[in-house]
C-alpha cells in the first residue's frame, strides 16, 4: 500500500450518506444479489449429511473445529532471547464477547512453565503476622470463595509501538491481555487467618517457578480486591496461567498477578525487587523513572477490521468491533472514528459491564469502498478519556516501554486491507 489518502472534512458527507443508506436498507429497498446458478453447497451432498460422525468421547476434552486451527496464540521471535523467558499474544481479532478462552490467554513466563503437582504445592504466609501459616490446596478449597471477571494486561502491552507503528496485527500490538472469570479465595480472608500485625503495610507474593517471581503490593490493595485463584472460566487454572494457584490483582499490571503462588510475606516496606526496579518502571525523557505504576489506564482497540482481519466482503454493511478496559473501573462509553479523528461516533456497548473487566463495543456502518482511518477512544467510569499516542509522548517521551494506552489507528485501503499506522 503506497497511497496516502488525505482525510478532510468533506468526508463527513460520506458518513451522512451512510446513515441514509442504512435507513434505506431497513425499509427493505436494497435488492439482494442474484445467484449465477445453483450453489454446489446446496446442490451437492456434503459428507457430513450422509456419513456418521464421531461418537461421544471422541474428544474427551473437546477441541475447536479443525477449521479454526489458525486461532492460536503467537510469538514474535525477535522480541526475546528464548521462549522460556518470553511472551506470546492472544488472537484478539478472532475473538468475540468479553471472555478469553483458556487456551488462548497470552503467556508470559520468566523461566518457563512450572509444572506443579498440586499435592506437593503449599501456600505459606509469613512475616509480620501473628501466626505464620501453611495451606495445602485442600485447605484453600475450604475457605469461602468468589467469582469475579477481570482483565489481565501486561504492562508492556503495546510497548513496541512507542516510537511508531511497528507490528502489523492487533494480536501483536494489543494481545498481551486476556479476560477471565476467576474463582478464588479473597486474599483478605487468608491474611485475616494469619493475623496481619499493625506494622504490616506491604505484601510480597512469590511464585514457585524457577524465576521465583516477586512483587511488592501495598496492604490496602491486598485487603481490597485481591484474590488467590484456583479456577479460570470454570476449570482449574492452566499450567501456563499458574496452576494450581495464582494471585489476582484486579486492574493492576499483569506482572503482579504472581503465578504458581507459593508464599506471601507481610512486611513494613516495599522490597524493590527486580521486576519493580530494573523492569516495570517507566523511564521518562529526562532520565528519571516512575516506579509503582500499578494501575492499567483505560484503553481500547478495534479488533475487526484490523491487519489480520481485513474487510473481505467489499462495500456495504460492515461490522466494526473492538474491546475496551480500565484498571480503574468500567467502560461506559467508547467513541469510534472512520476518518482518523475528524468526526467521532458513539459505539454501541454490548455484553456485561464488570468492574476492571473487558468490555465489547460495536459500530455498524455501510462502507463505500473508500479508504478509512479507524480509531477507538475509551472513556472509563472515572471520567478518564483514552489519550492519543502523541498526548502520551508529550508526558512520557519515547523510552518508557510500559503502559502505552494511546489510541490505535488502522488504515483501510480500497481493497479492505488494514495496516497499523499513525496519523497527524
Amino acid at each position: 500500500m503506497t497511497d496516502s489518502p488525505k482525510f478532510s472534512q468533506s468526508r463527513r458527507q460520506f458518513l451522512a450518506g451512510a446513515a441514509v443508506a442504512t435507513g434505506a436498507a431497513a425499509a427493505g429497498k436494497f435488492a439482494h444479489a442474484q445467484a449465477a446458478g445453483p450453489d454446489p453447497a446446496i446442490m451437492e451432498m456434503q459428507p457430513w449429511q450422509q456419513y456418521l460422525g464421531a461418537g461421544v468421547d471422541a474428544a474427551p476434552y473437546g477441541v475447536p473445529s479443525p477449521h479454526e486451527a489458525h486461532v492460536v496464540r503467537r510469538n514474535v521471535e525477535w522480541l526475546t532471547a528464548d521462549t522460556v523467558s518470553s511472551v506470546n499474544f492472544t488472537p484478539l481479532h478472532e475473538l468475540e464477547g468479553i471472555i478469553t478462552p483458556n487456551g488462548l490467554c497470552f503467556e508470559r513466563h520468566h523461566s518457563g512453565v512450572a509444572e506443579i503437582d498440586p499435592g506437593q504445592h503449599r501456600l505459606m504466609i509469613n512475616g509480620l503476622v501473628d501466626n505464620p501459616l501453611v495451606f495445602t490446596m485442600e485447605d484453600l478449597m475450604r475457605f469461602p470463595r468468589e467469582n469475579r471477571t477481570y482483565f489481565l494486561e501486561c504492562a508492556a502491552n503495546t510497548g513496541m509501538e512507542w516510537r511508531g507503528s511497528q507490528l502489523n496485527g492487533v494480536q501483536f500490538t494489543h494481545g498481551m491481555i486476556h479476560n477471565v472469570v476467576y474463582t478464588g479465595v479473597p486474599l483478605r480472608l487468608l491474611l485475616e487467618e494469619a493475623g496481619v500485625r499493625t506494622s504490616g503495610s506491604w505484601i510480597l507474593p512469590e511464585g514457585a517457578d524457577a524465576s521465583g517471581m516477586t512483587r511488592s503490593i501495598p496492604m490496602e490493595k491486598a485487603l481490597d480486591d485481591c484474590m488467590v485463584a484456583t479456577h479460570m472460566n470454570g476449570e482449574r487454572l492452566r499450567p501456563e496461567q499458574g496452576y494450581p494457584l495464582r494471585l489476582v490483582v484486579p486492574g493492576w499490571e499483569g506482572n503482579m498477578w504472581v503465578k504458581w503462588l507459593r508464599r506471601i510475606e507481610v512486611g513494613d516496606a516495599p522490597w524493590h525487587h527486580r521486576e519493580e526496579t530494573s523492569k516495570y518502571t517507566d523511564l521518562l525523557a529526562d532520565g528519571q523513572a516512575r516506579r509503582f505504576t500499578w494501575e492499567m489506564d483505560a484503553k481500547s482497540v478495534i479488533t475487526n477490521p484490523s491487519p489480520q482481519a481485513p474487510i473481505l466482503h467489499g462495500p456495504g454493511p460492515t461490522v466494526l468491533t473492538g474491546v475496551a478496559w480500565s484498571g480503574r473501573g468500567t467502560i461506559p462509553r467508547v467513541d469510534v472514528t472512520l476518518d482518523g479523528g475528524i468526526n467521532w461516533h458513539r459505539a454501541r456497548m454490548s455484553g456485561p459491564s464488570f468492574d476492571k473487566s473487558m468490555h465489547r463495543f460495536y459500530f455498524e456502518f455501510d462502507w463505500d469502498g473508500r479508504p478509512l482511518l479507524l480509531q477507538s477512544r475509551a472513556h472509563d467510569s472515572t471520567g478518564y478519556v483514552q489519550p492519543t499516542k502523541d498526548q502520551l509522548r508529550e508526558v512520557r517521551g519515547l523510552n518508557s516501554i510500559y503502559h502505552n494506552n494511546g489510541i490505535q489507528t488502522w488504515a483501510i485501503n480500497e481493497r479492505g486491507e488494514a495496516e497499523n499506522v499513525e496519523v497527524g
Partner: protein
Amino acid sequence: MSKSVEMMKTLTLSTALVVTAAFAFAQENPAPSREGGFGLGRTALPEEVAAWDIDIRPDGQGLPVGSGDVYTGEELYIDYCSACHGDFGEAVGRWPVLAGGFGTLDDEDPHKTIGSYWPYLSTVWDYVHRAMPYGAAQSLEDDEVYAIVAYLMYLNNMVEDDFELSNENFLEMAMPNEDAFFMDDRATTELTVFAGEPCMENCAESIEITARATVLNVTPETAEDASAAPEAMPVAAEAEVVETAAAEPEAPAGPDPELVAAGEALWRQCASCHQIGEGATNRTGPMLNNTYGAPVGSHEGFRYSPAFAEANAAGMVWDDEALSAYLLDPRGFIPGNRMAFRGLRSEDEAAAMIAYIRAEGGDAQ
C-alpha cells in the same frame, strides 16, 4: 524515611480513586470473614519459613552472613553467567546487558544496566540468588552470590578489583541511579489532563498518515495460516492412533523405549541450555547431536571452557563411562567446566539420559 512517607501519601491518593470507581459496583455477597478465623491451615515451622523466606530488602533485611571478592566472582561469572551475559556484562544476543550504559538514560537509546539504572544493590543480590544461574536457580552458595555481585559492581566501575563484598559493608554501597526513581504521579500529571468531554465533530482540518508498520516489515507471517491449518489437525489425530498401535506388539532392537521415555522426562533439566535432534543448535550449552562416542568438547562453534579444551586435548571421549560420571557429578568429573547443573541423582537416571540422547541423534556420525 521521608521518601516512604511521601510514597504512602501518593498511595492514599490513588487508593481513593480506586474506591470511588468501585463504589458503583458494590460487589454482591462478598465471601464472609469469620471472627477468630477458620482454623484452616497449620502453623509454619521456623525451619520451613527459613527454607522459603529468601528475599532481601534495600535496608538489608534478609541478607545472610557471608562475603565474596571480585576475583572469585569473575571465575564464577565466567562459568555460570557469561554464556548469556557476555564476559563483561555486554550480553550475548538479546539476553540482558548487565554493565555500562552510564549517562544514556535520557538518550534516544537508553541502556538500562545494573550500573546505569538499578536503584538498589540488594535487588542484584536477591535476583542472582533467587533466579540465577538460568536453569539452575538457587544453586549458588551465599558466598558465591556475594562474589558474583562484587564482580558485577566491578564491571560497572563501582569498585576496584581488590574489593570484597560482605554483609558487613553491604549497606554502605549506594547505587548511582537510586535517586532517579519517583512514585507514580499519573494522578496529577495525566488523570486530570486526559479527561473531560472530547471533541466529536470537525475536530481537525485534515488528517494524514505519518507512520506505517509495513515499512518496517517485522511482523510474523500470518496470511497463509487460514488455508494451511485445517488439514493439520486430522493428520495429527491419525498420527496419534498409529503410534499407539505400534507401541503395543514388538519392542524393536534399538534403545529400550522405557529407558528413553525416562530420559525424556529428565531432559527438562537440560533443555534450558541444550538442544538435540533435527535443527538443534548451540545455545547456552552446546547442541548434543553427534556427541556419544565423540571427543569431549568437539562441537564446532561452541566456546568451551579451558577445562573442556584440556579434556579434549587429553583425548577424553564421551563413552558410557565418561558420560555417566559427568552427568552424575559435572563439577567433580571435569572441574572448572561451565555447566551450571548439579548433576543427576542416580546411575539409573544417567543411563536413562544417555539412552534418550542416543535415541534423539546423539550418536557420533
